[in-house]
Symmetry: C2
Subunit: 360 residues, 2 copies
Amino acid sequence: MDPRVREHAETLVDWSARIEAGDNVVVSVAEGAHELGVATAAVLGERGANIVTTYGSTEMDRTYLTAHDGDFDTDPEHQLALYENADSVLRLGGGRNTAEDADVAADKRAARRQATQGVREARLDTDWVSTVHPTRSLAQQAGMSYADYRDFVYDAVLRDWESLADEMDRLKRLLDDGETVRIVNEGTDLRLRIDGRTAVNSCASVAYDSHNLPSGEVFTAPYATEGYVTFDVPMTVRGEPIRNARLEFEDGEVTDVTAAQGEGVVREIVETDDGSRRLGELGVGMNRGIDRVTDNILFDEKMGGTVHLALGRAYDANLPDGESGNGSAVHVDLITDMGGDSRLEIDGEIVQEDGAFRWE
Amino acid sequence: MDPRVREHAETLVDWSARIEAGDNVVVSVAEGAHELGVATAAVLGERGANIVTTYGSTEMDRTYLTAHDGDFDTDPEHQLALYENADSVLRLGGGRNTAEDADVAADKRAARRQATQGVREARLDTDWVSTVHPTRSLAQQAGMSYADYRDFVYDAVLRDWESLADEMDRLKRLLDDGETVRIVNEGTDLRLRIDGRTAVNSCASVAYDSHNLPSGEVFTAPYATEGYVTFDVPMTVRGEPIRNARLEFEDGEVTDVTAAQGEGVVREIVETDDGSRRLGELGVGMNRGIDRVTDNILFDEKMGGTVHLALGRAYDANLPDGESGNGSAVHVDLITDMGGDSRLEIDGEIVQEDGAFRWE
């Protein structure tokens, strides 16, 4: 076994999920994540945690949903009880075909999602962490060889997280103290307010309220957005490629949408509801282990030297206690690459120039 | 997909587990049983059942146990809650290596078993069914090609179970009404008492208190065994091959043990405790779809024309309500093939001669 699989499992269990003896852990293993599952089971055994292993099979989920009439029971007791009694849920992603559920009716998926809201809340109420094992299917989606893709994933996952957390804390403090952000880039001049909002130092650990491995971003919830922004990082959203989407904002709301490709999907997202016309997140990617786009949002949005903005729902963690931010049924991230002639300013001071932070 | 995989799933869900809309089902999928998992998920979706899928990975279990210090928590809450809230548990066996856990210390396995007794009881308290998907690993254990082994498994599983249940009911009634059984075969002349015991018609359905698919045996709990018996069906027990084990009984207890191979293991089993010197089960194989030995007890003991006897623990289902039969930490089946010049008698009347039932 590639020794990095074991290091990945240790990072997941110790740094990310902070699992200790006696913890009740659910490990979800995707069809292609067996090897990481085996390594994770060993680390959990060493720590003295208790393990229930679920099988995250997209093929089984697809045939189940396809065959079901769509009238789903509310929060099945056995599923609810499993998560209500779990301390941690480790989701080991990595399937065999990223398009496997392409033919599942969206309304059936939505109906199930609706019926099992309690199960989802119970799961999100644990110290959950999502990661992925590098599979051939994900390598294909990234347009990379399997060997190269494995290197890519482990470069992203096996960071010196403590030192990255320290670096990200600098940006967090600047954002917490700041009132306005300005992003200037080719095709972009955007001003956002962040006054009163709290940034999250998302360094891949539940101890920092961060639930993805890899992570490596600092994000907050902006408002009162003005100006225009061009998202030059190519993405696939709802199965459609998006290229150079450009949004214009006035008084915090989108007033114009264009795109070289996928304009229809971006419009559809913007027009979902009231909240989807506003931004719910401003995120700054700081993981320098991620040095290329792989069409996988788990990685792309954390790429060092990028900034992403999400249309729709804001995270409560960015708001003062008890307050809710922008509400929406959607949360769709779009990314801009901060290359030459770019600036990220907080209260008029340059924090990042031409893609490099001022402390780099 | 081989259409027999779908038929297997339908037999499992409908005939064996009797699953209905709204049932909470746990499906455990072994490493090699993915295809049967996909088919089972489709049938469960059609029936409107609720599904939680666990991953029955021997490799994960091995690394977990190997790494653990052996001081296991008692009945972890999340695992216990999962089974306590389940109506059915479908175990889809079929791994990639039947020897995968060969290097796990027996005492560690025993310690875990001890600590999780409540979990096991909760699982056995559901309408559970165990079956296997034909894998290359099981074909290898059987000494068969993969194609031949698939045919073998589906011949065993895809029976006309209703008609077999009717035939087995004949033998059940004879055993229920009978007081003594005599088995005569080459190297065998054994007399057992069955008076007051109830036979189980094990026809692969929870509706008949039968939890294996395939099944196809009628079994009861004998006592006061006298005589000698030779087990000529080759088996692997505790990793050791057993050939022509011969036991002598007096007053219900083993008085002599010999074997052409594996005598040490048989002695070890007999000497486990008081109950392991007595028989806990007399079973008659009636599944004519199983026409050869494959070194897998799930199949071998149901082979039409065989009789098996288990040293150790008896099943409560064979005893009058509230009574317990022979108790022991072990239950080890050994099999004799009722070929030419063999007789199975109940109260002196021949029920089976030369391997054929009198109604065949």
